[in-house]
Amino acid sequence: MKIATALVAGALFGWGLLISGMTNPANILGFLDIAGDWRPALAFTMAGAIAVAAPAFYFMRRRMRTLTGDSAQLPERLRIDRPLVIGSAIFGVGWGLSGLCPGPALILLTGRSLQAIVFVASLALGMVLARRLAGRGAA
């Protein structure tokens, strides 16, 4: 049941990314290039997504239980800390270089282009490096 609902959720998310044009890095870069021929599509996509997700989160913050009665897991950290700020800043530089973020990059793997494969491999390596660093910091 959990597997089936996660599959449906992923498919809706992936279909949305595809329809919105956000799987095309050119549309992302077009939004980020405020000094060039600006393309506002990304703002419309985010507005649409937040408009639907916000009521679900509002409901869940009150209930903290899923519709089937299981406990929900929402992020518990509330404080703004250095990793959040530094990590997000680094992510933004990478995002600006290619126009690719994790969701669209994974979807682009279906096109079997070498670019997408190399990007996702680098992404995975970056995640492993971050974990190594976190492990050393905690030790």
Binding site: T5, A6, L17, A56, F57, G92, S98, M127, R131
Partner: protein, 150 residues
């Protein structure tokens, strides 16, 4: 005349622009996916966190994560990708991938987890994270495309 679209610099005629309509409808679907995962699985649809957790196999319960990622790829596998302009330059692709992977893990989220779910959850952390990564991305594009000149 004072439509929200004007805040984004969009003129009235472009509200019916099919590109922007598709972008918005796609957004509604993305939000639906996030809502389904939240309401039925009790989980946040943050792709970098889900992918990272699968990668590290840190959590015993990885079935739903793999299922979400498989689902994410299904529409593209059946409908095709459409027009895509991939980034050029292997050095750029590798560096970008490393920074995105490293940054999203250190910063606990990406465009889906912070940008969509976090903001929808009215999280101050996510709102700040989104403003920061949008900001550094805009600066990066400005430097790459315009060499820092206006």
């Amino acid at each position: 005349m004072c439509s929200p679209c004007e805040l984004f610099g969009v003129t009235d005629s472009s509200v019916t622009d099919p590109v922007l309509v598709k972008a918005f409808v796609g957004g509604l679907l993305i939000g639906s996916g996030a809502a389904v995962l939240l309401l039925l699985n009790g989980r946040v649809a943050g792709i970098s966190t889900i992918f990272g957790d699968v990668l590290h196999l840190v959590v015993g319960e990885s079935g739903w994560r793999v299922a979400f990622l498989v689902g994410l790829l299904l529409p593209a596998m059946t409908l095709g990708l459409g027009a895509v302009e991939l980034p050029r330059g292997w050095y750029l692709i590798v560096v970008s991938g490393l920074l995105v992977g490293f940054g999203t893990r250190v910063g606990s989220g990406c465009t889906s987890g912070h940008g969509v779910c976090g903001i929808a959850n009215l999280s101050r952390r996510s709102l700040l994270a989104t403003m920061i990564f949008m900001g550094t991305a805009i600066v990066t594009v400005f430097i790459v495309r315009h060499g820092g000149r206006t």
